[in-house]
Every structure is written in C-alpha cells, then in structure tokens.
C-alpha cells in the first residue's frame, strides 16, 4: 500500500472515530477537550501555512486568533450581532483586516526581524485587550457570549458544538490542503525555499507573503470565533504571547509543513495542559519544560519522531533528532522534514 493511500485510510478512519466518539459514551469532559483540539488545530494549521509553507515564523498568530474571538464578544455585547453566519463572517473579516495591517509593517523585514516585529505586534494587540477596559473589559474579559443556532440545529450543548468545530476543522484542513497544492501554494513553497530566486524569476515575493498572511489570518480568526463560542468568554489570555508560543509549539510538535500533523500537536498540547492542571498546580512549569523537550528532542515533530522510534524498535539505526536548525542561517524557517524518507 502506498504511503499516500495509507495516510488517506488513516485520515478517513480518524474522521469516522471522531464522528462516533460522542455516541460511544466518552465523558463530556473529554468531548470538550476534543472540541478544543479541533479549534486549536485550525489555528495551528493556519500558522503552519506561514511557518511551513511560506517560511514566515509569525509570533502574532494569537493576536489574529484573539481578534476573531473579541469580534464575537464585542459584536454580541455591543452591536447585537449574534446570528451564526454574520458572526463567523465578522470574525474572519476582522482577523483578515488585522493581518493585512500587520503585513504592511512586519513584511518589511524577514527572518529574525519578522519574528521580532510580530512579537511586538502581538504585544500591541494584547495591550489593547488588557488596558482598553471600556471596550474589551480589560483583564476581566467579556462574558455572556451565547452559542448560536446553526440553521435549524441547536448546538448550545457540548455534543452539538463538538460537531460544529469538527466540521469547521475538516473544512479548514481540506481548504488548506487545496491551497498548498495549488499553483499558488507551490509559489509559496518557492518563496520559503529561495526567496531570492523567486524574485529573479519575476514573482512578487512580498505580495505572496502578504496574501499568505491574510489567508492565514482568516483561518486564525475562524478558530477565534469558535473559541469564543466554546468558552462563552474572551479574555486577554487568548491573545497573549504565551498563546502565540503555544500555537507555535503545536505546529512544531505536529511537524512543520505537514498540516494534518497539526491536529496531533493541538491534541497533545490541549490534553497535556488540561490534564496537568488537574494533577498539579505547577502545570505552567511543566509546560515550560515541555517547550524544552519539544524544541530539543522533537523539532521535526511527532510525525517524524514516531516513525523513527518505530524504526528503532525494529532495529533500523536512524537518528531520532534531525540536526538542521529550526530556523536556517538566513532566518527563514527550514524546509520541513519530508515524511517519505521515513517510510
């Protein structure tokens, strides 16, 4: 069976399991963690479009995500926009507009400069949410967000909402797969690999990066909308730098440049942080240690690590940790590990 077909079978099997889970008597606690997983998988995939396919390490992804979430909250509490489709549209448009503004500033540099500027941009938006109390509620955030009806369906219960998020996750994954496999996606990969050569070939590198940033912002905003409904609350933590970092850790853990791997990364981070916070008060410390472990021992992500561990078990001598740095000397995110080499 070819590798590609094996992945397809695994994906379909995974989807069937995901669809059946709420019917199999899985406790609601886990259903709601899985709902979170779908939401964070969307934002992690949106970041992977930038990191893995365009070579832009964006530290302001949480700001885009948070703008989507705050759009829901502010739209509902101030402008009484609560119907399903208008809210989704509002969240996505707000995030795309934010990304468009970010792009004008941040895309003047690349590599490390881009990282530094996007950190600053994230902090600006966080500062607004934290301090503009009359608009954002400050540290207390905004409560009273109600999950809307989706067409005729009432999804206010956890199970119903689980399916909404799962559906959006599948749609986002398929859309992103189409995007990265389209001619546009190929240009993005060219931009990631050798921006200079793409320029010489006549491609407007800046414009491709800009478009990628806006597309990514749209998906991040969508995830933010789902997150606001999920929590029925939005606070500044949702768009903190720590949140941006966690999303990036999901991307790395899933495997940079894989898209489908990000659901794995989201799953691990969501379950880990929730299970840890149930077991120990010091879960933030453990999360810090997790950062160390992930970037040092699994920079290629689980999709690389697991097959290699498997290979080790079967006596193949493969290096567990690839030696390429996460970010190349030019400061452009490195080409993702190819899955094929492990098969």
């Amino acid at each position: 069976m070819s590798l590609r077909r094996r992945w397809t079978v695994a994906a379909v099997a995974g989807l069937v399991v995901a669809l059946l889970l709420p019917r199999l008597g899985v406790p609601t606690f886990y259903i709601s963690l899985l709902t979170q997983t779908w939401i964070f998988a969307i934002v992690a995939m949106s970041l992977d479009l930038l990191v893995g396919f365009t070579g832009l390490v964006n530290f302001s992804q949480a700001a885009l995500f948070g703008v989507g979430a705050y759009a829901v909250a502010i739209g509902a509490t101030r402008f009484h926009i609560t119907a399903f489709a208008p809210v989704v549209a509002l969240g996505i448009v707000s995030a795309v507009v934010t990304a468009a503004i970010f792009g004008l500033v941040a895309l003047r540099s690349e590599g490390v400069g881009f990282i530094i500027i996007t950190i600053a941009l994230n902090e600006i938006v966080w500062g607004l949410a934290y301090q503009w109390v009359s608009m954002s509620g400050g540290d207390n955030g905004i409560t009273g967000i109600v999950r809307p009806h989706v067409g005729p369906f009432d999804v206010s219960a956890n199970t119903g909402y689980y399916y909404v998020c799962l559906a959006f996750f599948v749609i986002a994954l398929l859309l992103l797969l189409v995007i990265v496999r389209s001619p546009f996606g190929l240009v993005l990969k060219g931009v990631r690999e050798t921006p200079r050569r793409m320029r010489a070939l006549g491609y407007n590198v800046w414009l491709y990066r800009y478009l990628a940033l806006m597309i990514s912002g749209g998906f991040a905003g969508l995830a933010g909308v789902l997150f606001a409904w999920y929590n029925q609350f939005v606070g500044p933590v949702a768009l903190s730098l720590d949140q941006s970092t966690q999303i990036l850790i999901m991307v790395i853990l899933g495997g940079i440049g894989t898209l489908y791997g990000q659901v794995l990364g989201a799953f691990v981070v969501v379950f880990l942080s929730n299970e840890l916070s149930a077991v120990t008060q010091r879960w933030e410390m453990v999360l810090g240690i997790v950062y160390f472990v992930v970037v040092m021992y699994a920079p290629g992500g689980l999709v690389v690590l697991i097959p290699r561990l498997w290979g080790r078990l079967h006596g193949r001598r493969t290096a567990l940790v690839p030696h390429e740095p996460l970010l190349g000397p030019a400061g452009i995110a490195n080409a993702p590990a190819e899955i094929a080499e492990d098969s």
Binding site: G111, M285, G288
Partner: protein, 287 residues
C-alpha cells in the same frame, strides 16, 4: 496641566526608562552577539527582585541585596545557557522558544515560592524622602535610579570600547567567523555577554522594586516595553538601547497620564513609526 505636570512625568518617565535600560541592554547585547532573542530577560528581572526582597526582609542591606539578586540570577541564567542555550546560537527560533520556556518556569517558580501577592519594596532609608521645588514634589529615589542606570550604561560602554574583552566582543558581533579565524575566543565572549545581561537584569529587579514593585506576571508586562525599546533603538545596539529606553520611558509616562486606557498603544506609536520607516531601528544594522 502646567509645567509641573510635564516635569513630574518627564522625571518619572526617565526613571522608568532607566529601569528598562537595565533589562533591554542585556536583550540587545545578547541578540547582537548570539542572535538569541532572550525573552527570559524580564523573568531575570523578576527573579532578581524576589531574591533581593527576601534578603532585605532578612535584614540585608538594600544595595548588597540587589547585587546578590543579580548574582543569583546570573548563576541560574548561565546554568541554562551552558546546559541548553549555547548550542542554539545560530538558531534564533529554537533559542527563543527555550527562553520562553525558561520564562514560564521562572514565573511559575516565583509563584510557587513567594505566592501570588504583590510585594511592594521600600527604597533604602537614605533615599526614601522626596525633593520639593516650589509645587514640584518627586521621590529622591527616582534620581538615584537614573544615576545608577547611567553608571551601568557608562561601564558597559567603556567595557565594550576600551577593554580587550570588549574588542573581542565587538569583533565577534561584526564577523563571527573571521573573529574565530584570528583566534578570538568567541565562546568566551558569548558566555561573558550572557552573564552580564542576566546580572544587570537581576540587579535591576530590586533596584526597580520601589517603582514597579514585584508580583508574578510583572515580567509579562515588562516584556512589551523592553521589546519596544530594542525595536526603537535597533536590535544589537547599546546606544540604541539607551536612547530607546529613555524614549519609551517618557512616552510610557505621558501616555499613562494622558490616555490611561491606551497606554500600551501610545508606547507603540513610536514603535510602529520606526517599524514602518526604519525596520532596523534608530541605531541598528539591517537584520
């Protein structure tokens, strides 16, 4: 809003900016030399503050306690550097994530050891009063902080410009490979600069305590400011960090006074202007 308003906020802003310099100088030097974006720099500051205030509570002299805070921070920072960070100096993303992980650990460790309540820190008795000129009243301690930071800045400038070690560090910044080629011990330069950055931030913790006080999460609030400083000044430039600190300190003070709800935003007005027109910062080189 008369003259008094302006002088008061200007002095307060300069004092706050001086504190920011103690954090941002390490951030900019460590980045300039090693390409490590050390987001644990404000966590170093927080750690120094807590170590210092604990010592003061046990009767240690304020200045001695600040230095001790700096030393403890430096030792911890160097441990992390030697064990993990030094391997990734050519890999800004990995090192950045490591420093973020370390900041989380410090933050949570502080919460575990000292609890979540804010600690206010009193200035040393000899500097506890306030000065009065007509209607203008401000704490003496503000002046002391400004003086200390400028002294630190002067020491750093002299060390970089006039000592052999400084020459080696500057050579490593300019062209690391060439510096190695002519026999400069670049790794030692890295070690020294990281130690100095951690020490100064840790030292700043208690010194800044009377102004910022100390509480878990303070580091998260200072990080955007420290970042604003190095973006305005230019990553890697010490003079940029000094100018940037004062600019951000002043903008912060006036922003807080004039637009209390939007003070983070006002800080980032100069930052946005710089990013739009001069992405490498006032004194920085192109990244």
């Amino acid at each position: 809003m008369g003259l008094q308003f302006y002088v008061q906020n200007a002095l307060g802003g300069l004092a706050y900016g001086s504190l920011l310099f103690l954090i941002a100088s390490g951030l900019t030097l460590i980045f300039g030399l090693m390409r490590i974006i050390n987001l644990a720099q404000t966590a170093f500051y927080l750690l120094g503050a807590y170590v210092g205030l604990t010592l003061v509570a046990h009767g240690t002299n304020f200045w001695l306690a600040s230095v001790a805070g700096g030393i403890v921070t430096m030792v911890l920072g160097l441990a992390v550097y030697s064990a993990f960070l030094h391997r990734y100096h050519a890999d800004p993303l990995t090192s950045l994530l490591l420093t973020l992980g370390f900041a989380l650990i410090v933050d949570d460790g502080v919460l575990a050891l000292w609890g979540g309540d804010p600690h206010s820190i009193a200035p040393p008795p000899m500097l506890a009063g306030s000065l009065q000129f007509g209607t203008l009243v401000f704490p003496v301690y503000w002046l002391a902080v400004i003086a200390i930071s400028f002294t630190v800045a002067a020491v750093l400038f002299v060390a970089l410009q006039r000592t052999m070690l400084g020459v080696m560090i500057r050579a490593s910044v300019d062209d690391e490979e060439m510096a190695r080629g002519v026999g400069v011990d670049v790794n030692r330069a890295f070690f020294v600069v990281f130690a100095a950055g951690a020490f100064i931030a840790g030292l700043g913790g208690l010194l800044g305590g009377p102004i910022t006080s100390a509480y878990p999460g303070l580091d998260g609030e200072l990080t955007p400011l420290a970042f604003a400083v190095v973006i305005v000044g230019g990553m890697g430039s010490l003079s940029g960090a000094l100018i940037g600190s004062l600019v951000i300190g002043l903008v912060n003070a006036f922003g807080k006074a004039l637009f209390p709800e939007l003070s983070y935003f006002t800080i980032f007005v100069p930052v946005a202007l710089i990013m739009a027109f001069r992405p490498q910062g006032l004194f920085g080189r192109k990244l």
